[in-house]
């Protein structure tokens, strides 16, 4: 079976800074995959390269077998990305935002699915409210909704719970777990390691643009019996 995401020898420099130093990994279909590492490890650079927001200096990235540069239209159609930054278009309401995002993916009538996403993310009451009037947590939910409007089989969540209250986190993870159970591949970056420990069946640890550990969560934990993922994370990065 073709990998959900295939990353081979990806290198990216920003001037003299090497952000990615030959990163390779395969993520299988249906996985809940964690991409962890300290700030500046290269996680967001890797995700941006996968999403076509950055062009790597070398290497290849594929989404379900489609190269993100040579076959970008198919690759982007299969990928939904929740960006890390809290960004929004201040001219539109929540529903307008989601209709517009659907249209970008070639979907004209998407209100049934939009209503379902809004309900699952507890946004129904805010559907006709302008984006400017939403709280930070609400805007974060809309970003998640935008990534899901075209029902992508591969979903990347780049720190989706940063600055989000406990109630939303639980609701969000419940929804994402359901999507994963339905067959969607989930790639998660987060600084909340207890979330990664609870959700991800495989984890890659990155440091200074390199993958320093890549294994099933239970195997990583087994290397340091009795330790939490946070302790495993710190010890692995120290090595």
């Amino acid at each position: 079976m073709v990998s959900a995401v295939s990353i081979v020898d990806v290198v990216k420099h920003f001037g003299s800074l090497q952000a990615l130093a030959g990163v390779s990994m395969e993520i299988g279909q249906g996985e809940f995959f964690g991409l962890l590492g300290p700030n500046g490890a290269g996680k967001t650079t890797l995700i941006s390269s996968l999403a076509g927001l950055l062009r790597p200096d070398a290497g290849t990235l594929k989404v379900l077998g489609h190269d993100v540069i040579d076959d970008f239209r198919a690759a982007r159609r299969l990928l939904g990305v929740v960006p890390q930054e809290l960004v929004f278009d201040p001219f539109f309401s929540v529903r307008e935002t989601l209709r517009i995002q659907s249209g970008y993916f070639g979907i004209r009538k998407n209100d049934d699915w939009i209503d379902e996403i809004l309900a699952n993310l507890d946004l129904t009451a805010k559907a006709d409210v302008n984006m400017r009037r939403l709280s930070g947590g609400m805007k974060r939910r809309v970003l998640v909704a935008q990534a899901l409007v075209h029902k992508p089989p591969v979903i990347v969540l780049d720190e989706p719970t940063a600055g989000v209250d406990v109630e939303l986190r639980q609701g969000l993870w419940q929804f994402v777990r359901r999507l994963n159970a339905e067959g969607h591949t989930i790639i998660l970056t987060t600084h909340y390691l207890e979330e990664a420990e609870a959700l991800c069946n495989r984890i890659a640890l990155m440091k200074q643009g390199r993958v320093v550990a890549l294994d099933k969560t239970i195997n990583l934990m087994a290397a340091y019996p009795g330790a939490s993922l946070e302790e495993v994370f710190v010890r692995t990065l120290r090595q």
Partner: protein, 250 residues
Amino acid sequence: MTGFLTLFGKEFLRFWKVSFQTIAAPVLTALLYLLIFGHVLDDHVQVHGVRYTSFLVPGLVMMQILQNAFANSSSSLIQAKITGSIVFVLLPPIPYSVFFAAYVLAALARGLLVGLGVLAATVWFADLRVVAPLWVLVFALFGGALFAALGMIAGIWSEKFDHLAGFQNFLIMPLTMLSGVFYSIYTLPAFWQDLSHYNPVFYMIDGFRYGFFGVSDVAPEVSLTVVFACFAAVSVLTLSLLKRGWKLRG
């Protein structure tokens, strides 16, 4: 096609939702130009046998079409880049040619709406006739589209609002103000007349004005050739920047 229609619709709504600022304000500015210059000069100046106020109106209409087409695409892109919301159009599978077409046509739509507004507000003060409406339409479309594409380049190139203001104040404003909106270039000294022929905006204004009065400084066929060549060159440059993802995709 849905991607194009959505992006065009989004760009159209973006200026329509703030039409007091994006349409009414430039119409008022043009009206003030007409009232001030017309009041001072109408009894003293005729150009190509046309009263000054009548001569001025087509120039003001075209100037506002150009400036507002430029302002729409450039401000939309710089705002999206600075706020980060540009990711919403970079993540989907929108081909760069569709991206170009949607931004240019939405900016052209704003330019034309402002142009119609200026015409509707100023026509009461001038004795206007349209002897060649097709020339009026062709110059409005290609001139507006050229400035919309130029606005895309400015929006892509600019990294902060300061850069865009520089582009607007030190390139677009001088080009439009010194293009013959307020005068015929044949009233200028020889040096400035010659220099005006290197300003592509002069041909847009002159050709557009020909459609109203049937007289111009340069034959409209020559003006159209210049305008079309500039439009083609700027479009090719814009498309190549979008294809490379220059300053959009790192």
